[in-house]
């Protein structure tokens, strides 16, 4: 069976309009989170990372759009444009498009919008992206809560392995909206401070805004420095609760075990874990339990939420891309915001950014609906 790789990639974030800008800031342990006072979104000031509006508009206009696009569409188009152009892949019927999003253009449900409600349908969003770049098939929109981004990568691998496509562009994005913040606030899950995943003093999540994209392919001639091979992936449900994580970390543990099995690796082969780490009390505790059950308690681990906040449907994809760069740079990035362990089981949270040879990493995510996903990536050796 031919291998499937992740290669050309882009991150549109508060740090800038490419992956390099995000990596540069993470390397320097700089957060993109800022205190934002925007009463149209939340009555109280909140921490978030948002893409610079004027620069986004400038980048978007360079695409010579032939119709009007929503803010999220602009983010996705700008990110995908870079990835498609860098890869030089010609769009044919062997090239697929997967969009990962939880809420899509949900802001069009709000009163003051120039777009009609039809745009809230995720298929409509997918169509706008498809049409702009001339993809032959309809976009495959994956909406699976907070695991969407990493599950989208797994889905791309699965469709390529089945020989449905040769290449798939995966793009993920979600907005920071009143819809989302009021909802998380009703769960009392929002932190009033920059989030501190796994820390004793953690008080909840921040929501951030990012669009990310990557090319998934079986074509070795498209590989670049930070390319990785997808060795294994799995997505298991907790079968326990729709909004609370499992006390035993059941679904996450099973996802990790299944991904390891497919990769034909053991926990000792994992050099780094890019974990979910939302900084809510229950999520981080659940992860610590699952990592211990999987004998991964000593493996260096971070959550990147301290840099971007939780970017929802983009987060798993964003964090996978940063993991690719982490392997290439042989650097373990600090889990920003972490001071003192605040979970009941031992885990090895990276306190300070450091150079270390790393070959393989595990990416995990968990979300509402009891869903969990684990994927294992390895450096391409040549």
């Amino acid at each position: 069976m031919s291998k499937v790789y992740l290669t050309h990639n882009n991150i549109v974030s508060s740090f800038g309009f490419d992956s390099a800008a995000a990596i540069q800031n993470i390397s320097n342990e700089i957060t993109g989170l800022k205190l934002i006072d925007d009463k149209s979104v939340l009555p109280n000031p909140f921490y978030s990372s948002r893409i610079q509006q004027d620069k986004l508009e400038e980048k978007y206009q360079q695409l010579n759009p032939r119709e009007k696009h929503t803010r999220l569409e602009k983010m996705l188009l700008v990110s995908l444009k870079e990835t498609i152009a860098d890869s030089k892949v010609k769009i044919t019927d062997r090239v697929g498009l997967i969009i990962s999003t939880t809420k899509g253009n949900i802001d069009v449900l709000e009163n003051q919008t120039e777009f009609d409600e039809e745009r809230a349908y995720l298929g409509a969003l997918g169509n706008k992206i498809k049409i702009h770049f001339g993809f032959k098939d309809d976009a495959i929109v994956l909406s699976n809560a907070c695991v969407s981004g990493v599950l989208a990568v797994a889905t791309a691998k699965r469709l390529i392995t089945q020989n449905r496509y040769d290449h798939i562009f995966v793009a993920g994005g979600d907005l920071v909206t009143q819809f989302i913040l009021s909802g998380f606030n009703s769960f009392q899950a929002l932190s009033e401070e920059p989030c501190r995943p796994y820390c004793k003093t953690r008080t909840g999540i921040n929501i951030g805004e990012v669009a990310a994209s990557v090319l998934v392919t079986k074509d070795q001639s498209l590989l670049i420095d930070e390319s990785v091979v997808v060795l294994g992936e799995a997505s298991c449900n907790d079968a326990n609760h729709i909004s609370g994580p499992s006390r035993t970390g059941e679904g996450l543990y099973r996802s990790i075990e299944s991904a390891l099995k497919q990769a034909n690796l053991t926990s000792d082969d994992i050099d780094y874990i890019s974990a979910h780490g939302t900084a809510t009390s229950f999520n981080d505790e659940m992860e610590a339990i699952a990592f211990n059950r999987a004998s991964l308690q000593n493996t260096p681990l971070n959550s990147l939420k301290g840099y971007f906040g939780h970017t929802l449907g983009a987060s798993g994809l964003l964090e996978t891309i940063i993991g690719m760069h982490s392997l290439h740079q042989n650097t373990l990035y600090a889990s920003l915001g972490f001071k003192e362990l605040g979970v009941s089981q031992p885990i090895n949270v990276i306190k300070k950014t450091k150079k270390q040879y790393i070959k393989s990493f595990l990416k995990t995510a968990s979300g509402f609906g009891g869903c969990n996903t684990a994927a294992i990536f390895q450096k391409v050796s040549n």
Binding site: Y121, L142, S143, F179, G370
Partner: protein, 202 residues
Amino acid sequence: MQKEFYIQSYCHITRNEVLVNGKSVFKSDEIEFTSFIKAAYKNFDIDHSKFFKMDNLSKLAFIASDVLLKNEPEKNIALILSNNASSLDSDRKHQSSIADPENFYPSPAVFVYTLPNICLGEISIKHQLYSENSFFVFENFNADVLSTYANSLLADDKAEKALCGWVNIDEGKYDAFLYVVAKKGTFVHSIPEINLLYKTNE
């Protein structure tokens, strides 16, 4: 070499009726969705009090899956569902609770259902499935992606069976078509066959 897979059984729910393998198993006079689905729940004699807390999409997916899985011994069943309207039915409820600053009452019980994959969690809890979950959103029913994805999970031994299909609820209109893909069964698991079964109740 790709093994061949089969459709073991299928179910339709639309126009106040539940059909299994093309045969009516429940029909109600209730036109309105919430009354109809409650009548279906009672008719099938299901004991699962969480049902009453679910949103409409989850209720629809829950009943459609229950008629197919109630006598199913296999637990390694992947859930691969899709629709057109995502969770817009609940999204609109959450939005109406936050639209007016004078009357601002977002509720976690509504907000949690503003994700389409929550119905997969509800099915997993009922049937104790610790299995693969994926929720796709398409403009129209997409047998191509559903079948390719199911084949991948079965061929890679990620699942023994797959519960696939379409569950959509939007502006009071509802439509479910679920089917179980297995290594043995009646119908060949192919795009034309899936499309044929999907349309049998149109």
